[in-house]
Symmetry: C2
């Protein structure tokens, strides 16, 4: 007779995120997560394969919460909004955000985000053939920027300086896209 499950995978990830927010990612351990759920550490192994899987689940959760901008907005405004969302996520969860670069993320949420960028670039006039490359370059810049902020690489700079940085970067990117679009057309 199946016992009633006391904890779910969602419970485990929620407890993990709570600990990461309250005491930092370093405080996240199988033991601390279990303690918060009132369960022994080994009980977690039914819901996550190992600690790495726990951390991957955290990254996926963050990505899943990333808002996708309204498709009615102009393509460049959509991309600006996504960049701003990524930076906000990085600011809220710096340690978790940095894990984004530590291992490949190929979850539904990651694909959904990439497709939204593809759509924007298509609307911006980028040819179907070039879209994947242009997306890789843009996402590398934006994720790299957000990760740099999260890791403190830009800690000596004012928030306004960094806002202007990303604006300048995106503006140069949009100019390059427009040139691509006109020369193809």
């Amino acid at each position: 007779m199946p016992r009633q499950a006391r904890i779910s995978r969602a419970d485990v990830l929620e407890a993990t995120l709570a600990i990461a927010e309250e005491r930092g990612l370093a405080a996240v351990s199988m033991r601390s997560v279990a303690a918060r759920l009132g369960v022994t550490p080994m009980a977690l192994y039914r819901h996550v394969r190992d600690k790495q899987d726990l951390l991957d689940g955290l990254v996926e959760r963050l990505l899943a919460e990333l808002p996708i901008p309204d498709a009615g907005l102009p393509w460049d405004q959509r991309l600006r909004a996504m960049a701003a969302s990524l930076r906000a996520t990085a600011a809220r969860h710096p340690d978790v955000f940095l894990m984004l670069l530590h291992r490949p993320v190929m979850t539904p949420a990651a694909r959904r985000t990439r497709e939204a960028v593809y759509d924007a670039l298509r609307d911006g006039g980028v040819s179907e053939e070039l879209i994947p490359r242009v997306e890789r370059l843009l996402s590398t810049f934006v994720i790299g920027f957000a990760a740099s902020e999260a890791g403190g690489r830009f800690a000596m700079h004012d928030r306004r300086v960094l806002d202007d940085d990303i604006d300048a970067g995106l503006q140069a990117f949009f100019a390059a896209v427009e040139r691509l679009a006109t020369q193809t057309a």
Copy 2:
């Protein structure tokens, strides 16, 4: 009477790098580094403040080994060469490279690298006022790209595709710099 020191900070960092290369960064511990040097773990604390300082030393060592291209080369070729060096370093020491984004690096080696980029941008015609911003945007893109490769974010792509990616990215960057230079002049 001072005893003869048996190990130096350089010895400690070299042993650390050797372990990281042979068994991965996860195998690096105060205890494993000490064991390789034939010493107790506590002996290391004379040469590094704590484990974080040990890891910081590793990053600094890698950055110090980064070649600075010949100043006689054209400015854009110098930047291309530095990007290639960073990618090579990331490929050789993926785990250590990723730490570059985890905390601010403000060592002599980091400053030397940044100054080399400043010089190249100046030779490319970027105004003194804009140089720091343009450097931040370029380094963010290149470090982000190398980190993405190191972390496996591009693992599904062929090496040649990624070579073309960074070429396309740098080319767009150079075009933007040239427009900046002519509109200033």
